[in-house]
């Protein structure tokens, strides 16, 4: 049975989309069929990491929500677009699909203005799972708590919350956890991202775990290579031996182990 995993952060700039793309691709590299849905309708962007731009897709999640296409029609197989640092295809053994959100200002405004049927979004997720024979559906959410995010949390088998070692992130994560518990999310994992290297790994993990009572699935240190890549690809394929990449695979293995 497919796992629905929502990736969330209370604040923007945590590296949520970047980690989502990296982890989802790492899971796919283990032979799994994976889809990523960009439900960050207000500020979409994860498609950039897969080398797509607006002209590359004719349908988006917005079209599905307006009944202009099926959910499957808005899903693009981006496996071939996943490339290594040398520009060659990554030869991922599984499959990665991406359901992008529209980048057109008018279409973003229409969704904000009119809203949409939550049941339709939920049905679309399940249609994708069935029709694409998925093993994992990753939901890249909008930062903070809003209606779409609450739905994504509510239907998830697992929620991954990304935070930085920052007081505002810590406070926001507490709120997010409270909401997730109210929505009966079965499994919650924290990922600490953009940690300055002055913090010892075990100390930071212990601090976060003891503060929230939730396991930390991974700790990612800030690094220059990530800044240089600038969302220009999937990091672990560009820097396979980097500590960040090893941690991505550690998180992916945890998700696979929970199958």
């Amino acid at each position: 049975m497919a796992q629905v995993i929502s990736i969330h952060s209370f604040r923007g700039g945590t590296g949520k989309s970047n980690l989502t793309a990296n982890i989802a691709t790492a899971v796919a590299s283990q032979g799994k069929r994976v889809a990523i849905v960009d439900t960050d309708i207000q500020s979409p962007g994860i498609h950039v990491l897969f080398g797509l731009d607006e002209e590359d897709f004719t349908h988006s999640l917005n079209d599905y929500l307006w009944d202009k296409c099926s959910a499957k029609d808005a899903a693009y197989d981006v496996t071939a677009q996943v490339i290594t640092g040398s520009g060659t295809p990554a030869n991922i053994s599984g499959t990665v699909y991406l359901v992008p959100s529209s980048l057109k200002a008018g279409e973003i405004a229409k969704i904000l203005r009119e809203g949409y049927d939550v049941g339709l979004l939920n049905d679309g997720f399940h249609d994708l799972i069935d029709q694409l024979d998925l093993d994992y559906l990753f939901i890249d959410t909008h930062p903070g708590l809003n209606e779409e995010t609450l739905l994504s949390i509510a239907i998830s088998d697992r929620m991954v919350i990304i935070l930085r070692p920052d007081r505002q992130d810590f406070l926001g994560t507490a709120v997010t956890l409270e909401v997730a518990q109210k929505l009966d999310v079965p499994d919650i994992t924290l990922l600490v991202n953009k940690a300055p290297d002055i913090y010892p790994r075990e100390t930071l993990i212990d601090k976060v775990q003891s503060q929230y009572g939730v396991p930390v699935g991974g700790l990612f240190y800030e690094n220059d290579e990530m800044l240089q890549l600038a969302s220009g690809g999937i990091f672990w394929l560009h820097h396979p031996d980097h500590a960040f990449s090893q941690e991505v695979h550690t998180v992916a293995r945890q998700l696979l182990a929970a199958e």
Partner: protein, 109 residues
């Protein structure tokens, strides 16, 4: 509100109360624990019959019907009578329409 006798399969309501729903996910967070837990479960299931809900809750269908009646009246749940047995579904939208002036929206179209 009357309910069928204990053990009888309760008849679902024919329609939801007018104007009560749909509700938002934020409204859902404000529900009391038992009601919220049931709607959370219905969201995950995308709908369920009264028998399935009774099995999930480990309670009698008559008690489930009372809970569902309240949720239908409040606008959180609808019932699909075209299915046999009837299916109770969450009645949620992503957000209520925004009240931003039309001129602003038109500028974005």
């Amino acid at each position: 509100m009357s309910h069928p006798a204990h053990g009888d399969p309760p008849a679902p309501r024919q329609q939801q109360s007018a104007g009560a729903g749909p509700k938002t996910m934020t409204d859902l967070l404000l529900l009391a624990d038992p009601e919220r837990t049931l709607v959370n479960w219905l969201v995950r299931q995308r709908g369920a019959s009264i028998a399935e809900i009774a099995v999930h809750l480990g309670t009698e269908p008559t008690l489930v019907q009372a809970l569902l009646d309240d949720l239908i009246a409040a606008g959180f749940v609808t019932v699909d009578l075209t299915s046999d047995p009837a299916v109770f579904k969450p009645n949620l939208i992503s957000r209520k329409p925004r009240t931003v002036p039309d001129q602003l929206w038109k500028a974005l179209d």
